[in-house]
Symmetry: C2
Subunit: 134 residues, 2 copies
DNA sequence: CTAAACCTTTCAGCACAATGGAAGGTCAAG
DNA sequence: CTTGACCTTCCATTGTGCTGAAAGGTTTAG
């Protein structure tokens, strides 16, 4: 299976596949006499896994760590579970932060609605974003 | 006012101030005979504005565009309002996406809780993240 | 035999907002 | 006059996941 076939099978580009190899996510396959990469069937499974894990929000580094465990013969279950929990925490922290940001932006929008452009002098730069010095 | 004083007054580092100048956020000030930057009082106001705008989640590029309007003699109110609304939309889109990601992660966590490590063969890589082929 | 489609490598760059470090110049106090 | 704090410039790097381009080699169909 050449890289173009694998790309078609996985829905990735050949560039991305080479990038994944370089990033340690996909083992370097044997080469044809002409120097072309010649992939075994499992390569497609591996790429499917990488994309699934990415969809779950894992980084390539984390995915690499899971694959490394698997490749060393261990079941990565415990590691995967820990990563999922960690990302769950992360996601919740980011949501809390976005909630704060949204509240701040809503406050600014309200302020913008009642701001008189004429009241905004050059010294203030912008009275919506910064309270004018009193 | 030299850069160190301005840094102390604004709570930024001298490096960041030079970076802001280079990024077009702070006009290049006159220099002393020794080549040191010599800032007018307004520089502090300007930096305060930059930080406030950043706190609101605006990017440096957006802040630059507000300052450019102001420097060209126009009141940037309408532009600022548009930017705020746009960031509000953005924030809400990202929150919706995080909500989806969180739901996916929760599903995976539930699955991880009931997964038997022994059921996870080498071929599957990880049955928590990818359903085994049937 | 030729042209197209495919493959190879390597280096560079994107966005984002700084930060680190090197190598050297200037200024005020003691 | 020296020490040390402060200043100057420029280049490189951080993290993330690719993508672009250049310059060339291989394979397959007609």
């Amino acid at each position: 299976m050449r890289i173009g076939d694998l790309a078609a099978a996985s829905g990735l580009t050949t560039r991305t596949i080479r990038f994944y190899e370089q990033a340690g996510l996909l083992p370097a396959p044997p080469r044809t006499p002409g120097g072309y990469r010649d992939y075994p069937e499992q390569a497609a499974t591996r790429l499917t896994f990488v994309r699934s894990a990415q969809d779950a929000g894992l980084t390539l580094a984390e995915i690499r760590s899971i694959l490394a465990l698997r490749d060393s013969g261990q079941a990565p279950c415990a590691h995967v579970t820990a990563l999922i929990d960690q990302h769950l925490d992360d996601t919740e922290r980011r949501m809390a932060e976005l909630t704060r940001t949204r509240a701040a932006l809503r406050g600014l929008a309200r302020r913008a609605a009642v701001t008189d452009p004429a009241a905004c002098t050059e010294d203030d730069i912008c009275t919506i974003l910064v309270s004018p010095r009193t």
